[in-house]
Structure formats: C-alpha cells, structure tokens
Amino acid sequence: MEVDDTDGGETSLRSKITSPGESLTSSQAFMRGHGTYVEDDEVIASVAGTVERVNKLITVRPLQTRYNPEVGDLVVGRITEVAARRWKVDANSRQDAVLMLSSVNLPGGVQRRKLESDELQMRTFFEEGDLLVAEVQAFFADGAMSLHTRSLKYGKLRNGQLVTVPPILILRLKSHFYSLPCGVDLILGLNGYIWVSKHVKDNEQEGEEGFDAEAVYSNQNDEIDDATRAAVARVSNVIRVLAAHFVPLNDTVLVEAYEWVVEQEYTVKDLLLREDVADALVSAVATARPDL
C-alpha cells in the first residue's frame, strides 16, 4: 500500500500493521522515523507494528517492545543490584534504571543530611528483589533513567502481587494509582509492571503523620483476609486475559471486566483455564466500550 497525502490514505494507514521488511513509502517524499530504515529510496519497516505519520515523518510503533521512559512517568521496578550510593532497578527498559541514594526518602525527615552511615545500610531500605514504585526523574548520558521516590506515594511495595503486561498497553493517565471497589489497590506502572495489592486506607498510609521509615521500608505484609486475596487473584487474572488479547488497560476497563466476572459467577481460575470465558470477557469489555 502506498502512503499518500489524501485523507483516505491516512485512515487506511492508521489501521495498517506492518511486518519487518515491508516497504511503506518512497523516501523522497517522506522522512524515516523510529522503526523504519531507508533502502533503495524506500522507507521500510524494521519492526512489526502500526504505522504512524506526523506530517512527513513516518514511524512504526512496535507491537512488542521494551519500555521507552519519559520524564515524569510512574514506573514499578525491581531492585537487581545494590551499588555504591545507588540501586540498580529493573524497570523493563533496555537498560537497568538507577535509583540514587539521594533520591529516596530517608528516615528522619526530608530535610536531613545524607550521612555516610546511610551508605553502609542501604540494604535496610531496599535490597535485591524488592519491588518499588517510583517516578522517572531524569536521564543519564547513556539513556539510562534515573528514578526518585521522594513522595509519600512512592516507595517499597508489599501486600500484593505483580502482573507483567506489554508496556504499550498502559495508557498515560492523570493518575496511575487506583482503588477498585473490590478492596484492591492498583498501581499501573507505565513500564508494564502492574502492582495489585490490598487496599490501604488513605488515612492509614505510612508517613502521613511525619515519616515512619520503619513502615515504609518494611518487608512484612499486613493481615490479609481470604476475600481480599481472592479479589487480588481475580484482578490479576482479568489483567492477564485482557493483556493477552491486547486490550489497553485503565481503571474503568478493569472495573467493568471485574464486575462482569463477578456477575457471571466465574471462578478465578476459569479465566485462566477456559478460553471461552476469556473470549467472552474480552468481547463484553469491547461492547461496553466501543471506543477501544
């Protein structure tokens, strides 16, 4: 298919999915963007994805890709390494992210000076394997992202489980913290890591009254009742099913899907083990939200 300037061409372009090596258009009239290369005066897709065009710039947005960070993004990550004055964090990006010791909240208040003793007890804050929610602060020269957790909303995660989806399915929204009505909190990391956990009431959130380092850096789960655990498992499976069918995720989709599952009285595992249930769920969500 040739790309042309008419409106008809643009609409057909929008729905077009490329395969690597597919010729998109002539390079004389258009500029190549990400996901494309030029050969023999032709712009050719280098990845499988959807074609996008801004004026004369042709890009292909890949279907499966690593997370492309932007400053201000909310991400969920896992500590992979404790290094000198910094942690290395796996955030599903091309390189490990970096969390500097100076970018975390330390016990004793925000105004406190960083001490040498903090460097020696970095593992009491975060150790290998720990999950955290953070914000992308800046980029290093090599493109690695630097994170910070200098907010009471950010920090170590507990009381729940992690679900991984392709990052492209997480839309940029006003807030990425949700409380579902079923007593489950969700953190939709833009890197495709989704934290599903027990709901914590706002007034019980750690650090509300001053900063309670003990609670913020705790590894201990709260008491969680069976109903909440079941809800966490159900929400996780709903996310897995929707992700498997490439449904973009946000809170309304998830609430709708969750209510549909409860209404139809399916068990948690039906979603995972029965294809008919999964397909029905996806079509139910699609009919409820025709814009998706």
């Binding site: 009381n159 991984t164 989806v165 159900r234 897995r240």
Partner: protein
C-alpha cells in the same frame, strides 16, 4: 528474584484455608498443556510442549509465554562391535536452554543449568530398562543410536515436567527406518558359468543377496510407504513422566510458575513409567531440589500421591498422542495440529 513480602504473600496464600494461588488455580491444577508432534522435518521424531502461556495465541500474545520445550530425536548408525553390553543400541540425551528463556542467568550459570537438565534426562532415559528393543540393526555389529535433543525455548516454571512430556511425545513420534541385512558373496563358480551361458550379467544370482541371513555384514534401508516402525519400549512400559511436587509443608502443589518456584524452598521430582497393559508402575527416578528439608516419613505418601498425578498426566498425554498419530496415517503432509 522476589522480594520478601512477595514470597511471604505467596506462602501465606498457599497455607490459607482454602489454599489460593496467584492465578486462582487450586493446588493440583495444571495450566493448559499444548502438545504438537512432528515439528522438525529433518528429525526422526519431534514434539513441542507448552505449559501455560496465553490461550489461543501462537506467539505468546500480549502476556506471559509459558514454558516451552522442543525435543527432537535423530537416529544415527553406530558401530557396536566393540561394546560390552551386546550392542543393543542406546539413547544419548542433551538439553540446551535458549538464553532468551533465562535472561537473568550468565552464560556460566546457564551452562550449569543445562548440564543439570541433561543429567536428569540422560540418567532417566538412558537407563537400560528403558532402552528400546528394536534398535539393533545387525546383532553385535551395528545399532541405532538415538540422539534425544531438547531445547528449552521459554521457562515460566515447571520446566522438568515439560521436558519429560516433550521427550515422551517425541519418542512416541519417532520412527526407526526399516532395514534389511545384506551380505556380499562373490560366487565365483556360478558367475563364470552364467557368463558362458549368456552375455547378460543380470541373469542368475546377483552378487548382492538381500535375503535375511545370519552372517549379514551390512544393511540397506527399505523403501516403504511409511517412515519406519515406532520405538518399542521394553516390557510394554511407557516413557517416563515427571511430576514435580512443590513442597510447602504440610501440603504440596503442582505446576508452579517461576514466581511460585522462587517462593518454594523444596521441590520433589518424581519420575514414573507405567505399563500400558497392566497396572504395573515403576519409579524411574527421584530428585529433591532446593535447600529445604523434608520429614522422612512424608516421602512415602508423597510418592503415592505423585504416582496418582503422574498416571493422570500419562493417560492424558497418551490419549492426545493416539489421536494425533491416527490423524497422520493417510500421510502426505504431516498434520501438525496443536491442542489445548
């Protein structure tokens, strides 16, 4: 790698009443298992097994890709005239792992893991009690050597069960080429006589006699409509099936995902083979993995429980293979249909 709170969340969920797993399965539920036969054209038998992964999608879809193992069996002629065990043929197993399946492991760690997998597959399948009885080509001279090569394409937990399922399916799929022993006999007297009688050299007996004879020195491949005969497992036993019991005392669960495996201290691998016509069961192997400990008196009931699940797994695999293989009889293009 999991955080402490994730580990404790998984363990508490498992030990709560009723037990709950991260994806809502009950303790003894398996994820969907897909078996596909005849996936590599150049091998004598091959199979691909996938446990879990996204339903219905070929390439993993948008979520996790599950555990995927590919096994190919290739036969090779081996000179066994010098061997001590009578030269009945043998199996050589090798397992390799795709680095993409274990992105967090270094090459050295990956090598270690590969040799772990190879050793358990090789010691179990290479056991003389499981050596197929029809590998001999010419007794005490030539025999088939079965190369069982496995490739772990993706690992989302329970790789041992997937490995043995794939190996069993591939061995079921394997066809040994039909052979006929031959002997070269220069029969001087008769050839001279026939040369006198007529000028046609094809007249009379040829130098190559292709009848079965006790002193055969070589063999030829028979041209036949199918690819050969299936492997015959001795005593009517099935190929070994592995069940991994993930122990969280006082209970255990099956088919752990990677995350659950990380949160489980001890795993008990049990390898069974079942007789196809009687209720005879053999325990082919057993491994205790991990750094936990197990009460000695727990082992016996675990072995009994494991047998039940292995039997169930074996029956489902057998039913699946049977339907796959009967589909392939009018064979022009090998049909490869995957099933959940």
């Amino acid at each position: 790698m999991l955080s402490k709170s994730e580990k404790s969340y998984i363990r508490t969920s498992l030990l709560s009443e009723p037990p709950l797993r991260a994806d809502g399965r009950s303790l003894l539920d398996f994820r969907g298992v897909a078996v596909e036969l005849g996936v590599t054209a150049l091998a004598n038998g091959s199979a691909r097994v996938r446990i879990g992964g996204d339903a219905g999608s070929e390439s993993g879809g948008g979520g996790v890709c599950g555990t995927e193992v590919l096994v190919a069996v290739k036969v090779e002629v081996e000179d066994v005239s010098g061997s001590v065990d009578g030269g009945k043929g043998r199996m050589a197993c090798n397992v390799s792992c795709s680095p993409a399946a274990y992105p967090s492991l270094t090459m050295l760690q990956l090598d270690d893991f590969q040799s772990d997998l190879t050793s358990i597959l090789d010691t179990t399948l290479g056991c003389s009690s499981l050596c197929p009885t029809n590998l001999s080509i010419i007794p005490r001279k030539k025999a088939w050597l079965l190369h069982v090569d496995a490739l772990v394409l993706a690992d989302d937990g329970n790789v041992y069960d997937a490995l043995f399922l794939a190996a069993a399916a591939a061995l079921h799929d394997t066809r040994i080429p039909r052979t006929r022993p031959i002997e070269y006999r220069p029969n001087n007297a008769r050839s001279q006589a026939s040369a006198d009688a007529s000028d046609d050299p094809m007249d009379g007996a040829s130098g190559l006699d292709t009848h079965a004879m006790p002193k055969a020195t070589d063999f030829e491949l028979m041209d036949y409509w199918d690819e050969g005969e299936p492997l015959v497992c001795p005593n009517g036993m099935s190929w070994p099936i592995c069940v991994t019991l993930n122990l969280v005392p006082p209970l255990f669960y099956l088919d752990a995902t990677t995350v659950e495996e990380d949160a489980t201290l001890t795993r008990l691998l049990l390898l069974y083979s079942f007789s196809t016509n009687s209720s005879n069961t053999r325990l082919q192997g057993m491994r205790l993995l991990g750094h936990g400990e197990v009460e000695a008196n727990l082992i016996k009931p675990l072995i009994r429980e494991g047998e039940k699940h292995a039997k169930h797994l074996n029956q489902s695999l057998f039913a699946k293979l049977k339907s796959e293989l009967t589909k392939r009889i009018p064979q022009i293009v090998p049909s490869t249909k995957r099933n959940k």
